[in-house]
């Protein structure tokens, strides 16, 4: 996609932000002309995207279109891949997270992440939640107790586990484990929470619980969720970005706009074809 085209897309998205979603939204994270390379292979090409503050932004697209890769550039998890390279920039509150003097640890504390498969640590529920705060130097028992309760309540898990905080996180069901991971991410009080297909390993009821939870978190956190479940994006997000592979198999942003609009009346033919399942 040309820069012009992407520029047009996001200007339109911005414009519709203001018209479609009555209270004007501010930009929390700004992705500008982002390219991501695995070695010589360009996995994400020229993506520009504004992530609105305290809203749920869904990234949809077919497998391998670079949506997870894009998500991982938002908290520099992409750095972990050997030979990976980032061009362009990602701003968090107008500050580049790729600037040379930026500490990755700070970025990841402000931009938390929840993964596809629940990944509680082989520790107790309590120790799972306090893992992040302890890294930050919180050591007083009373402080940690308060954080555990607050985070587990925020993750809608407190009532289910308050009697067994010192049992293993593995003793929980898949859905509970995922909410534990959300609680663990919230414990360091991030501003943005990235979710990489957080419900793809869960049954429908557990999935709805996660979506409900996202909706509650929306008041305090900016959420970016990658999902290949379009219904989930339609149900649970305020804004939707559709990504697709270009001819060189690099992921590009095709369309970004209010979810209601993307799912009833997308502007790009590619989006329409994907959403209605007439792909290819």
């Amino acid at each position: 996609m040309s820069t012009n085209q992407s520029l047009r897309i996001f200007t339109r998205a911005l414009a519709s932000n203001e018209t479609a979603d009555a209270p004007t939204t501010t930009v929390k994270m700004r992705v500008t002309n982002l390219n991501f390379y695995y070695g010589a292979f360009r996995a994400v090409a020229d993506v520009s995207l504004d992530v609105p503050d305290r809203r749920i932004t869904a990234i949809i697209g077919s497998s391998g279109c670079g949506k997870s890769t894009l998500l991982r550039t938002l908290n520099r998890m992409g750095d972990l891949v050997p030979n990976a390279r980032v061009e362009g920039d990602v701003l968090l509150d107008d500050e580049s997270i790729y600037a040379p003097n930026v500490d990755v640890v700070d970025v990841r504390r402000r931009v938390g992440m929840v993964f596809q498969r629940p990944n509680p640590f082989p520790k107790s529920i309590y120790d799972n939640v306090t893992f992040g705060p302890r890294l930050l130097g919180v050591n007083h028992r009373a402080d940690l107790d308060a954080i555990v309760e607050k985070s587990l309540r925020a993750a809608a898990l407190w009532d289910e586990v308050k009697e067994k905080l010192h049992e293993s996180g593995f003793a929980l069901s898949g859905g509970q484990q995922q909410r534990l991971c959300i609680a663990r991410a919230l414990a360091v009080e991030p501003e943005v929470v990235l979710m990489d297909e957080p419900a793809s390993a869960l049954d429908p009821i557990a999935t709805y619980k996660i979506e409900e939870l996202m909706h509650q978190l929306r008041d305090e956190y900016t959420i970016v969720i990658v999902t290949h479940n379009m219904q989930q994006a339609a149900r649970a997000s305020d804004f939707t970005a559709f990504m697709n592979m270009n001819a060189q198999r690099a992921g590009t942003l095709v369309e970004f706009g209010p979810t209601k609009e993307i799912f009833t009346n997308p502007h790009q033919k590619e989006t329409e074809d994907y959403i209605t399942g007439r792909f290819g």
Binding site: F263, N265, P266, T271, I275, T276, R278, F279
Partner: protein
């Protein structure tokens, strides 16, 4: 290509709607014919046929619900199914107006017509043509054509006004004609309502094609 099955079901549903549309279009012509020729047998047949049209409408409605519930259509698919549903309802109402024409014929019995029918068949022709055109626009997802259909509703409204004034003149000259005049006015009124419903269909065509909800030909207050 993925979703061929769903695509097939949607195409089939669209076909059923177009069939229903042609059937409905026919009832308008038959209604006015029955009025012109005072054919009570034909009028009875139109009234009887309305039950069949209702049945088809409910069948289409049910299939729409099933597709929505089981296939979670989105974007243009969603708009198309919703439009099919709403157009089917409009068509059923149009057929009800045709049925009203039949009932007028039976109600009139052997009473002679107040005046030779000129404008009423004209109205019927235009509505039939509009209906045909709107269904064509729907099957082609042609928003411009849908909008053009809506614009033609003005012709219907003008004819209706003309008939209204004409009948009023008859009644003023001879108040005893009021009963016969009202019968014709009622027939014209039904045709005028058919025009409005076709305008609604035109709006659905535009929505299905573009996703825009526009209200066209807002009723002007009668002059």
């Amino acid at each position: 290509m993925p979703r061929d099955t769903f695509g097939g079901e949607l195409a089939n549903l669209k076909n059923q709607l177009l069939q229903l549309g042609m059937d409905t279009e026919r009832t308008i012509g038959e209604g006015v014919n029955a009025l012109k020729t005072r054919d009570r047998a034909l009028a009875q047949a139109i009234i009887a046929h309305d039950a069949e049209i209702n049945r088809v409408r409910y069948s289409i409605e049910e299939q729409c619900y099933e597709l929505i519930a089981t296939q979670q259509p989105l974007a243009s698919d969603l708009r198309e199914i919703i439009s099919i549903l709403l157009i089917a309802i409009e068509l059923e109402r149009i057929a009800d107006h045709s049925k009203n024409l039949g009932e007028i014929v039976i109600h009139m019995g052997d009473e002679p017509l107040l005046k030779p029918l000129i404008d009423i068949p004209r109205m019927a022709e235009i509505t039939q043509s509009m209906l045909n055109q709107s269904l064509d626009a729907f099957s082609r997802k042609d928003a411009a054509m849908g909008r053009a259909v809506c614009n033609r509703d003005d012709e219907i409204d003008n004819l209706y006004q003309q008939i209204f004034r004409e009948l009023l003149t008859y009644v003023m000259q001879d108040p005893r004609t009021v009963n016969r005049a009202l019968n014709l006015l009622f027939a014209a009124h039904n045709l005028e309502r058919i025009g409005d419903r076709i305008t609604n269909i035109g709006e659905r065509v535009i929505y299905a094609a573009t996703g825009q909800l526009e209200e066209l030909n807002i009723e002007r207050p009668a002059t």
